[in-house]
Amino acid sequence: MANDDIWILGINMTKFGKHPDKDAVDLGAQAARAALKDGGVTMKDMGVLAAGNLLGAGSFGQQLQKAIGQTGIPVYNVANACATGATALRTVIMAVKAGECDMGLAVGVEKLAGAGLLGGGGVAKSDAKKWEPAGKFGAVGPVDGRIGTNTMPGVFAQVGMEYGHKYGGTSFDLFARISEKNHAHSTLNPLAAYQKQFTVDEIKNDVMIAYPNTRSMCSANCDGGAAAVVVSGERLRSLSGEQQRRAVRIRASVLTSDPWQEACQILPDVNTLTRNAARQAYEQSGVSPDDLDLVELHDCFATAELVHYDNLMLCPEGGAVDFFESGKPRRDGDMPVNVSGGLQSKGHPISATGIANVWEICHHLRGEAGDRQIENAKVGLAHVIGLGSACGVHILERSAL
């Protein structure tokens, strides 16, 4: 391991689901303590802490320190929508890579069980007694629902439909079958919020949220936390053989935002920044898509998973439907995608997601994934996207030891 390599030393995710007896700090502390223990280190070894919790009060990182150890290190409270966890991880990686410290901790937590519909006007409409233009569009009332939709299921439904318009081959049935795959995968993941297999018909006949996304095709709001300890190659060499064997090398760590595109402010363009992140990650690592043994991608909705097959270059451009139909992204296929169950069944506690999907990859690379182990996995990719937008891509490789 070269001095300037960056590694994951310890990593953990809590069970995703309902945790009524724990607040965000409790969940963060649980994940952080478990990640430190997993890496065989303590807060005294950490040189930096980056923490994300979108729905809580500010200074989440400092509150977390008070629960797990106040050592006076710098804390970065980060927020990047659904890419918040990946942003926390990326922040720690940058600090270690810059040589500011040789070890750091990234934590992401959300309490989201029962949160309901996200993204739209979440309060009752109370149209004014007098029409008064206000806001950036000079609107006399709330625009959500009256000029398109800002709700997340509706936005991502259009993302999938736009792909269908461009390349053809999409249908309600196709999107339901993508969801069926992930729910089937979840039955092997004891940490998933939901471990229930559904038939395609059950998925199609579930409550419609935003066509073509029914309820079971939407990511599950739930509580959860995840944390990772990052270490430099130089420091790792001073640690035990067991720590070196279980460490996972970060071959690429990339965060992008969306460059201007003609329609990006009408419908968020989740494609360009993901393609850019993927391209940079493959360049940084020298890994090609064909080298990947498994992928965890941001299936916040069934319609989103389809476009990211293409954006992450798991298939030729325009070939996402054929890629799915070939069976490759199923866990027994050539390119297993979302063997954790994905956000649709594992759950999506926003700030935890970008670390939890790295945990899933690490779990397989370490050969510790139990019943859902992808045999002999050497290299994997984790992807998240937060609207606004931010995209995180990490390529991970198992230790050669």
């Binding site: 029409w131 959500d144 419609m208 201007w260």
Partner: protein, 131 residues
Amino acid sequence: MTATAIPFVDYLVLDPQPHLVANECTSCGAKFFDHRVACASCESDEFRKVDVATAGEVKAFTIVSLAAPGIPVPFVAAVVDCDGTSVKGNIINTEPDAEHVRLGMKVRLAITSVGFDDDGVEAINYGFEPV
């Protein structure tokens, strides 16, 4: 004489024929429906008002069944390509189902009432209807 109608958003112009107006960057041609300090595409800070085509093609849509309180459901939210300018809007004056709304469908701008305020002024919104 006081106004009897007001556009729901300021980029909708009602007279003489309803149409949308965008702020176009004079340097690169990027269009924005809200005010910008500088162009997100090229950083130029000069804009001019341009009319947006009222005919277009549906390039993405969803049928929203769960929305904020007060919004009638189901409704169709869409992105319409109006001669190269993407516009967000609802598809109106047709049944909100996948038999009546299709990708690639030709549509045109249409107006719809949002209601009256206490002064009797009617707010007029836009949508797109099948041609």
